[in-house]
Symmetry: C2
Subunit: 240 residues, 2 copies
């Protein structure tokens, strides 16, 4: 059954958003009588019968809206420096969604080489992946922020435990790295900061550690930014 | 330090392979006296000093070849149906390399929609990723094979324990799925079969189970083929 993203789900006759309508009508050639699965990305879903279509519109009837969960399930929050290559960052957004990431906070760091934010485009990636993988809650995409402003913009981060992944063998005055796979074992909610291609600076790591973050590594091989995020998400919560 | 892939590493004066030579000369503008890191993807590496360059060639001097390990470390063998989208399969090759996959066996299944094999192109992806992530052993890429011929072409698979990931809630006559994250915990070497977009057929799963494979799932969400492979690789061996 095809899934459509419909931000405002309500019982009754509903017109699908234009983009969804065009897709189901033109590409899938949906006809009256067909049934679609609708999700709002905020924990609600419905099955809806198509009652009318034309080239640009699709009207459906919703008899019942189901609430999968009232509140966003806590999970892994990825604080991540967007990669130089837009493709690689979008790929992380897609894979993170499939792997259950709760939220993304794009951060600009000392060594971030590109600072182009594409919130609309990124949001589309999250919506498509949410539909594809049958999630009920779309990951939250926060506005990009300078790493130094993160604590001011997101005071809630202090309520959950955090870690910072870096590739330096040692940094003076801070503890050695532990394996992320070990650290995350007993957590149901946490944030993890992942740096840009050139890694965080020592000072950036030190600042995060002073704020309570644990320095972690993700294994012996040198992972690209997007692989680090995906790998951490694939491990998170899987091993209690 | 830049890494070059040099299949035949030996002490003495060595000409880099043409493609590597062009890259270090034209793109990186390497000069005599610069030092490069060379790997052969078969467990050996060296540091080499550039002694001469021209537009198409780069000669280096190797004083010592180090052997990181004599034999290919056993790990996860991914038996995977190439995706319709070539990009997505190449992503999996790249990410699997970064995440330590031992070997890939592309398989054609009942529901494989495209059956185009690009061994040269795929090999290039593996080489690039091996260099990037500092692996000493490049993953082995086997020739694509029909799933039904896999046991004949790869009798060695019977020597290591295997699992098959599928999305069906139950299949008659075979055990229910267990979580891959649990199943893999105590293994240092294993193979995992991952199906195409439309999943394996019941019969394909049944045949693999009769050959000793354990049916597994990779979590609650519906993962794309390449996400399933990467996620399984990210978890493998991380939790003893």
């Amino acid at each position: 059954m095809h899934t459509c993203f419909v931000p405002e789900l309500a019982v009754g006759l509903v017109a699908l958003p234009e983009e969804e309508a065009q897709h189901v009508v033109r590409v899938l050639r949906t006809k009256p009588g067909d049934v679609l699965r609708l999700v709002d990305g905020e924990g609600r879903w419905a099955e809806a019968m198509v009652v009318g279509t034309n080239r640009k519109a699709c009207q459906v009837r919703i008899d019942q809206v189901f609430i999968e969960s009232e509140t966003r399930p806590g999970g892994l929050v990825l604080v991540v420096a967007p990669t130089k290559s837009m493709d690689r960052f979008e790929w992380l957004l897609e894979k993170g969604t499939e792997l259950g990431v709760e939220a993304f906070i794009p951060v600009w760091t000392e060594r971030s080489e590109r600072r182009i934010e594409k919130p609309d485009r990124w949001e589309k990636v999250l919506v498509a992946a949410t539909k594809q993988c049958y999630r009920f809650w779309k990951p939250k995409l926060h506005a990009a922020v300078a790493l130094s402003d993160m604590w001011t913009d997101h005071p809630w981060l202090q309520e959950c435990q955090g870690a910072v992944a870096h590739c330096m063998s040692s940094i003076s005055d801070i503890p050695s790295r532990v394996a992320w796979s070990d650290w995350q074992t007993s957590r149901s909610r946490a944030w993890l900061a992942i740096g840009p291609e050139g890694d965080f600076s020592e000072e950036e790591v030190r600042t995060m550690v002073l704020r309570g973050a644990t320095p972690v590594h993700l294994g012996e091989l040198r992972l690209r930014t997007e692989t680090a995020g995906m790998s951490a998400a694939a491990q998170f919560g899987r091993f209690a």
